[in-house]
Symmetry: D4
Subunit: 202 residues, 8 copies
C-alpha cells in the first residue's frame, strides 16, 4: 500500500498461479501478507516466496514483519471454536505489522466470569478486537469493560435470523458502548490492520 504498510494480497477470486505471481513480486518490497488463501491453492505461492509460512486456520501466507515502534499489544477476543479462523486472520495481520496479538478465545457473553477473569490481559492492551457471530453482544460487553478503542468484527457464524452476519453487524453498530467501531463481516484482516495502526507510536 503506502510507506509503513505491509504488502497485502486478497487471494479470493484469484487462481493459485495469479496469487503466486503477485506474491513473488510484492515480497521484494517488504513484509508480505496473503489473505483468504485456501489450503489447496497455497502451494505455488509458498514456493514462490522463500521463507514464507502458510497458516491453514487463518488461511494466510505471510513473510517478515514490520519494525515500527509500537505502544503496546492488541487483544483479540471471541467466544470459541467457530470464530477462531477470523480471529487468527486478525492476529496474523497484527504480527506482520509488528504488533503482539493477545488471544482471548473463550469468553462468550453467556459466561461472564471467563471474560472477567481476563481483565488483566485486556488492561495491558492499547486496543481490543472482538469477533462474534450470532448476536454479537460480546463487543458491547467488552466495550463497557475497557477504556480503549474496541473494533467490532462481526462474523458469518450462525444460521436463520443471523442473516449471514448482518445480525451481529447491526448489533455492533448499535452498541451502547461508545468506544466500538465496526468492520465488514468476517473481515479479520481489516480489524487487525486498523488495530495495528492504532497501536503504532506517533
Amino acid at each position: 500500500l503506502r510507506v509503513g504498510m505491509p504488502e497485502v494480497v486478497f487471494a479470493q477470486g484469484k487462481t493459485a498461479a495469479q496469487v503466486a505471481a503477485i506474491a513473488r513480486k510484492l515480497a521484494q518490497r517488504g513484509p508480505l501478507l496473503v489473505t483468504r488463501l485456501d489450503e489447496e491453492k497455497a502451494g505455488p505461492a509458498r514456493r514462490a516466496v522463500k521463507g514464507s509460512r502458510y497458516d491453514p486456520v487463518s488461511r494466510t501466507l505471510s513473510k517478515g514483519r514490520m519494525s515500527l515502534p509500537v505502544r503496546g499489544p492488541v487483544a483479540v477476543c471471541c467466544a470459541g471454536t467457530s470464530d477462531i479462523p477470523v480471529c487468527e486472520e486478525a492476529a496474523v495481520t497484527l504480527e506482520v505489522m509488528g504488533v503482539e496479538p493477545v488471544r482471548i478465545f473463550d469468553v462468550g457473553v453467556a459466561g461472564l466470569h471467563r471474560l472477567l477473569a481476563r481483565r488483566g490481559d485486556l488492561d495491558r492492551c492499547v486496543a481490543v478486537i472482538v469477533a462474534a457471530g450470532m448476536e454479537g453482544a460480546l463487543a458491547s460487553v467488552v466495550g463497557g469493560l475497557v477504556g480503549k478503542p474496541v473494533i467490532g468484527l462481526p462474523t458469518s457464524v450462525g444460521y436463520g435470523a443471523s442473516l449471514g452476519g448482518l445480525a451481529p453487524l447491526l448489533t455492533m453498530l448499535n452498541s451502547c458502548a461508545p468506544n466500538v467501531t465496526v468492520v465488514n463481516i468476517d473481515n479479520g484482516f481489516g480489524a487487525g490492520f486498523v488495530a495495528g495502526l492504532i497501536a503504532r507510536q506517533g
Copy 2:
C-alpha cells in the same frame, strides 16, 4: 380471551369513544386491561369503568387483578429511561394477571456491576423479561446469568442502524443463551402476558 385470562383492549387505532364502549362491556366480565391508550384519549374509558386507574407511563388503563395461584414473581429489566414505558406495560400486565413484577431498571451491558448487584432479585423470580433497544445485548447477558425462561422484548429506542427495533430483535433471536425467546418490538403486553402464564401454578 379464555377462562383464566384478563379482558384486554388494544386501543391503538380506536377512537376514545370506541375504547370506552368496549372497556365498559368487558369490565363486567372480570379484570380489565387497556393498552396503548394515549393520555388525551383516556378520559372517556376511565369514566366508563368505575374503579379503573390510568397510568400515563405505560399508557394503560386497568381494573382488578386475577387471583389464580402463582409460583413466584417475574423480573422486568432494562438499561434506563427510554425503555421504561414498555417495561411498565409489561409490569402492569403482570399485575392484572396477579403476578408481582420486580422492576430492575438500571442495568445496561456497558456497566455489568449494576446488573451483577441485582442477582438476588433475579434469582427469586420464576421468569425474566429483558427490554432493550439499540443493540439488545442485555437479553443474552441476563440469559447467561439465570437458569429460567427469559423473554426478550426488543424496543424501537435507537436510531440509524437500529432500524426501528429490528436490530435488537435480531440480536435477541440469535442469542447464544438458549433460554431466550422473543416477542414483537415494543410488545410489553405480550412479554408480560407470557411471563404471567409461565408464573402460574399448574
Copy 3:
C-alpha cells in the same frame, strides 16, 4: 451450562474429531446433547461416548436424562413431513431435560379438523411448541386454542417469498395470540430448551 442444565454441543462447523473430543469431556459431567450432527460425522462422537444414541432424523446424539421434578408434558406440533426434523430436535432436547414430548405432527391450518381432534393432547401439556415454515400461521391458531405458553419455531421449509424462514418468523412475531413467543429459524433445540424450563417445578 449451569447447575440443572444438560451439557450441550453445537456440532455445526466443527470437525467430527472436535465434536468427539468435546462430547467425551462433557459426558463426564452429566446428561449430554449434541445437536446439528450430520450422520457422516456422528461416528467418532458415538464411539467416544459410551451409551450414547444417535438419531438421524433430529441429527442429535444424546446420553442420559435429567431427573428434576416436572409439572407436565410439552406438545410439539407441525403440519407434516418437512418440519419433522426440527420438531424431533425439540423433542430430543425435552427428553434429555426429563420432560415428556407429545408429538402432534399432522395438523396444518388448511385442515383444521385434524388439529381440533388433538385438543385433548394439547390440554394435558404445560406448554406447546409449534413448528411451521411457509406462512407459519399454525402458531396463531394453536395459540388461540390453548391458555398456555406457545413457543413459535419458524422453519426454513419453503421457497420464494418464504425468504429462508423469515416469512414464518415474522408471522409468529406478529401473532394476534398473545401467548406466543418466538425462537430463531430452525432452532429446535432452543424451543425445546425453553419449553423444558417452563415445564419444570419450582
Copy 4:
C-alpha cells in the same frame, strides 16, 4: 378502463379540485368510483357528481352500479375494528360492479369458533376476500375451509415486525392453501375489483 368496467379515480395525491373535475367527466360515461378520498377533500367531488354518495369509512365516493349478470355474492372477511376500512373499500367496489358483498367482520384466527359459525355464508359465495394485518394467518385458515378463489388482502395494521404490512403480505404469499392469491397492502379496491371479475357470468 374498458367496456364493462366502472370508471375509477384514485384520489390520493390529487387536490379536491382535480378529483372533482375528473369525477364529473367520468361520471358521464357510466358507474363511478373514487377511492382514497379523505373526508375533508370529498365536498367538491360530491357536489360535482349529482346523485353520488360519499362513505367516510371506506373513503369512497360512488355513483351507480353495473348490471352485468353475476354468478353469486363475494364474502369479505376480517378479524375486527382495524381492518374494516379496507374491507369496506372492497365491499363498495363490489357494489359498484353489481356484486353483493357478504360482510364477515369478526372472525380472527385466535377465535376459530366465530369463523366456523359463518361457514354457511362462506359457502354461498363464489369468491372470498380476506383482509388481515399483523400476521395475516386468516387467509390460510379461510383458504383451507372453502373450495373457491380466496383473495388475500394484507393490511398495514400492526407495529414493529409487521413492517407496515409486509409481514401479512409474505404470510399470504406463502399460504399453504393453494387457492389464495394476493394483492398489494391495503389495496381494498384491487381485491374487490378482481373478486368482482371472478363473480361475473361468462
Copy 5:
C-alpha cells in the same frame, strides 16, 4: 384436499420412496398431481402409479383429470425459454383440473407486436396467467389488454437486483392494472390451481 379437488403431492424435500408411497395411496382417491419432482427421483412414483405420465419440463407426475363443468380455457403467457418450466407446471395443473391451457409463450414487453398478435387467444379465455422474471412488467401490460382476472406468477429467473424473484413479485403487486393478483415466486401450481377454480362453472 377437498371434494372437487385433485390430490396433490409437493415432492420437494421428500425422498423418491416417500413420494412413491404417498402418490400410490392418493391415486386411489382421484386425479393425482405430483409437483417439483426431479427426473432422477421420478422413477419409483411413476412405477407406483399405473397410467401416470411424468413430464420433465414441468417436473410433474400426473394421472387422470377432473370432469367438472368449465366456463372456458385459461391462457398461460411468458416471454420465452427460461419461464417455460414454471408455465408448464401451471398448464399441467390446469389439465388435471379439466381446464384447457392456452400456451402463449413468446410475448415479452420489449416486443409488443408479438403480444398484440395473440389478442384473439387472450380474448377467448376466462382468466390469464402471466409468468415473468427479471422486471415482471408483462403482467401489467396483459392486465391492461384483457377485462379478466390476471394471475401474476413471478419467477426466479434473473440475476443481481432481481433478488431471486422479489423484483418481479413487487412489480406485480404494484401493478397499475387492477385485475392482477399474485402468487408466490415460481409457484406455477398455485397459479394454475386458482385459475382452474376461476374457470369452473357454478
Copy 6:
C-alpha cells in the same frame, strides 16, 4: 461543476437564506438551476437572482440557458398526474442545459394505445426519460419501442409494496430492454442532466 455545465444548488436541507446566498454567488458564473426548492422558501432566492423564474410544480428556480450545440430533443414520459412534478424537474434541467424537452405525460402501460400514438414524438428524440412509480413497467415498454438510450426515473408514488420507490427502481434495473439505465428515486434532476449530456454534440 465544470466547464459547460450549469451551476446547480440542491436546496433541500438548506434554509431560504442559505439558498439565496449561494444562488446569488453562482448566478454570476453562468446559467443557474436550484432544485428541491419549496414554494414557501423560494422568495429570497428569487429576489437575490435578478431575472430568475420559479416553477412551483418542479420546485425549481432557474435563470439562463446554455448554448452548446445539441443533436436533438429529449422525450420525458409518464403515466399521469402524480409523476408530473418529477418529470418537470427533468424538463427544466434539460431547458437550462439548452435541450428541448418533449413532454409525453399520459402514457401508462395499462393503456398501450396512448403510448403507441406518440411514436412519432419518441422517434424524433435522441434520448428518452421514463418516470414511473408503482410497478415502473413503463420503462421496459418504452425501451422496447425505441433504439435510443432510455433513462429510467423511478418515483416514490405508490403505497404498500412499492416501498417508497424501491419497487419501480428494481423493475427498471431488471429491465429486459437493454437500453435502460437508472437514476435514484425521484431524481428528476439527475435524469435530465444525463439526458442533456447525451443530447450534446461532440
Copy 7:
C-alpha cells in the same frame, strides 16, 4: 432486436444445444453476440456459427461488427483483477456495436494517482463505463472528473456487507456526481449496449 442492433443471446439457463440452435439462426441476420456462455458449453455454438470467436474471460461468443457512424470511443474502467470479466463483457459488446473500448483496468479509489494518470484517455472518450464491487466509490470519483455520461456497473465482487452487489449498486444510485446512471449488478452487456448507443452519431 431492432434495426441497427446486433442480435443477442443470453446463454445463462439454456443448454449448449439450445444456444447453438438460436445462435445459428440469428447469425444469418447480422452481427451476433452470445453472453454468459460458460466455456464448457461454448463448443456447439462456436461450431454452429462459422467465423465466430469465443472469449473465455468475458464468456462471450461473437461474430461480426456493426458499421454505423460513431462519435468516439468509450472508456471501460475498474480497479483490477476481479472486475475484469464484467468489464470485458462490456468491451466485447462495444466492439460488436462498432465502438472502440478503451480499457482502463487498474484504477481503484484507494490509489487516485493511477486514475489521474489516465485523464487523457478519459478525455478522448464520449462516455465512460465504471465497474466496481465492494463499495463502488469509483463511479463517483470518475463522474467528478469527466463531463460525459458515466454508466455505473456494480459487480457482485465482495463479501459480507457487499450483499452480492447491492452495496455498490446503492452507492452508484446515490452518486453525488450527477452524470452517473446505473445498470443491474454484473450487467456488463447492458452497460456496453447503452454506452454504444450514446456513442453513435445521429
Copy 8:
C-alpha cells in the same frame, strides 16, 4: 462512564427537565457533554449547569474539557452544508476530550482537487473522521490518502435509495481502504469519542 471519560447524556427521548436534572448531577463529577439536545429543550439544562455552553449546530451542551496527554489533532471531513451538524457533534466531543478537531468541511469526491489541497492538514492528524451521506464514497478516498485510522461516519442525508443512511453505511463497511472502521448512522458522538481515545497518549 469510567475514569478518564467525560460524563455524557443522550438527550433524545428525554424531557427538558429530565435532561437538566441528570446534567446537573453529572456536571459535579467532571467534564460534561449532552448530545441530541434540541434548541427548544436546552434552556433548563443550560441554566442548571453553570458555565455550560450550548451549540445549536451540533445540538450539544458542554462544560469543561479533559486534560489527559494527547498525541495530536483529529481531522473531521465532509463534503458540505448538510453533513456539518453531525461533524460538529464529533468536533465538540473531541474538544471535551481535550483533543483538537481540524475541520475540513468542503471536500466532496466530485471535486478531488479541494481534498488534495488539504493533504497537509490530514497529515498532521493522528486519526481522521469522514462524514458522508448519499453514497459515502469520501471515506474510501480519504482512506487511500492517509496511513492513519479513518472513522467512517455515515449520515442520513439523502433521499430514495440512500435508505436513510444505509447506503453510505454499506459503502463504508465495504471500503477497499483497509484503514476504515464505521460507526452508526449520524453518530457523530461515537466517531468523536473513538477518535479521541485513539488520539490519547499511553
